[in-house]
């Protein structure tokens, strides 16, 4: 339907700084301060200061979703940016921010744009996470796990997924988190631990679900030209995609294919890569079913074969396709997705010590929101 893509942004924009706060219980930290701290660290990482920043883009905190949030972060940074906005695609927003950053830099409206997320649902307000609403609550349907449990059950019906395959995702994430000193859950788990963990919403167990957490993460985006004389080697944005099923489950025709299919197609095409070119993936894993569906939709395996794909250590460090090398949402932190981009950048720079994927050149990040309601894909490269 759309014109032949011109991909004007391919390899012309870079992530030049990344930063994050501690993750977990952070009493006394407002969500604004978590954004500022993450941005401050990302700017330090880039060798830039806040006076270099002319764009501030945020995803508003889930726990305290409010209007004009990005201006509050800009105010706390003490700046009046030429460009500022909050973009909401739920968990897919982080990549949406980077896309928007590139578009305003491309048009000469800004040069250095920070993209950030911070929230404190553990120690601050948990209002949004607690809200019970909608007619479905009368039947006891509430909370994010249930939506993904419904999808998991349907997927099991259509393709025969086994619980061991869900467990393989959780086990890999915990294993990787054990090598990440900033991860919330650093104890490895076994298949036995998985089966001993309680059901939350069957078929999903506790280890299938990511935790709620306080924390913040940020990236700095600029043009390739500007990136050249900064502190760290730039990481190139090779491709970006997005596609959104949008509809609630009851209205959604297909439950086992997500926005990842079209989003991935666009991002891979823009980047000029195929799954064979990918050294590692950082896939949104709010629940274990999600990376399995995403791997299929991105073309790493066929539809219905994702469960088999994640078995046998293939997605663990040292395996064919390391997944969520910092522990993902399941084990590093449950924050909705910016941390995955931060980790991908660090991997491509070779900064990850014991969890480093050797010679990592191309990384793919997925972001997703709602109950597989939104999806965005980011392909990052060490080289243009």
């Amino acid at each position: 339907m759309a014109r032949t893509p011109r991909w004007p942004f391919r390899s012309r924009y870079c992530i030049v700084g990344v930063g994050n706060t501690a993750y977990g219980r952070l009493p006394g930290w407002s969500h604004v301060a978590l954004n500022v701290e993450a941005i401050k660290r990302a700017l330090d990482d880039a060798g830039l200061t806040k006076d270099d920043v002319d764009g501030v883009l945020t995803k508003a905190p889930t726990s305290d979703f409010q209007m004009l949030y990005s201006t509050k972060v800009a105010q706390a940074l003490g700046i009046s940016p030429r460009v500022t906005a909050t973009i909401d695609q739920a968990g897919a927003s982080n990549i949406g921010l980077i896309w928007y950053a590139m578009s305003v830099i491309d048009a000469g409206m800004a040069e250095v744009v920070v993209c950030s997320y911070g929230d404190n649902p553990l120690t601050g307000s948990r209002a949004a996470y607690r809200r019970i609403a909608g007619d479905e609550a009368a039947y006891g349907l509430m909370g994010a796990p249930a939506g993904y449990a419904l999808i998991t059950r349907r997927y099991m019906h259509e393709y025969g997924l086994k619980p061991e395959q869900l467990a393989a995702v959780a086990i890999a994430c915990r294993k990787h988190a054990s090598l990440n000193p900033n991860a919330q859950f650093r104890e490895p788990i076994t298949l036995e631990d998985y089966f001993n963990s309680r059901f939350v919403v069957e078929p999903l167990r506790l280890y299938d679900c990511c935790p709620i957490t306080d924390g913040g993460a940020a990236v700095v985006v600029t043009s390739e030209e500007r990136a050249r004389d900064l502190k760290k080697p730039p990481v190139y944005v090779l491709g970006v995609g997005q596609s959104h099923p949008a509809k609630d489950l009851v209205l959604r025709e297909d439950w086992t294919t997500s926005g990842a299919k079209e989003s991935g197609r666009v991002a891979f095409e823009m980047a000029g890569i195929t799954p064979q070119d990918v050294d590692l993936v950082e896939l949104y894993d709010c629940f274990t079913i999600v990376p399995i569906i995403t791997l299929e939709d991105y073309g790493f395996c066929k539809k219905g074969e994702g469960g088999g794909f994640v078995e046998g250590g293939r997605i663990e460090l040292g395996g064919e396709l390391p997944l969520n090398t910092s522990g993902g949402l399941l084990a590093e932190t449950g924050m909705p997705g910016m941390q995955l981009i931060v980790e991908a950048v660090r991997q491509l720079r070779g900064e990850c010590g014991p969890r480093q994927v050797p010679d990592a050149k191309v990384a793919v990040v997925s972001n997703q929101g709602g109950i597989m309601t939104t999806h965005a894909t980011l392909v990052l490269g060490r080289e243009r």
């Binding site: 006891g140 349907l141 009851v250």
Partner: protein, 145 residues
């Protein structure tokens, strides 16, 4: 059943649905323009955007499209209910509804299970529509319009 249990909010948009539930009938909107049944209730047709619709009874029969079992209560009113099931039921007319399967154990529910509506009053105003297993029924095309 406690007073604090979450209940549907009756609006101008969904009132006919809950009023007919109280009378023991499952009634949905049908687009006057394209003839499609729709749920959840909405002013505009999901398919053709017409805002001309009528409310009409449907069969109350369908199959389980998916289901889960809550082992944790996310709301105090459901503390004594766990483990309880929640299912998405696909009606023979097409629309899918969130509900509970009653009249069988949680481990007897399966995807594809044929079910029919039953009516469970919870307040003077609200009757919930639940589903119970039935023998296999013929796909009743006459009902589908």
């Amino acid at each position: 059943m406690t007073a604090e249990r979450p209940l549907p909010e009756i609006t101008d948009q969904n009132r006919p649905f809950w009023e007919s539930a109280r009378a023991g009938r499952l009634t949905l909107q049908r687009c006057r323009n394209c003839g499609r049944w729709r749920y959840p209730p909405a002013r505009h047709c999901y398919w053709c955007l017409s805002d001309e619709a009528e409310w009409a009874p449907v069969s109350g029969r369908g199959t389980v499209y998916s289901f889960v079992v809550f082992h944790q209560a996310f709301h105090p009113a459901f503390k004594d209910q766990v483990p309880y099931n929640v299912a998405v039921v696909e009606l023979v007319e097409g629309p899918r509804l969130v509900s509970n399967i009653v009249g069988c154990r949680n481990d007897e529910v399966y995807v594809g299970m044929p079910v029919e509506a039953v009516y469970e009053p919870v307040t003077d105003e609200i009757t919930l529509i639940k589903f119970r297993p039935v023998e296999v029924w013929e796909r009743a095309d006459a009902v589908v319009d």
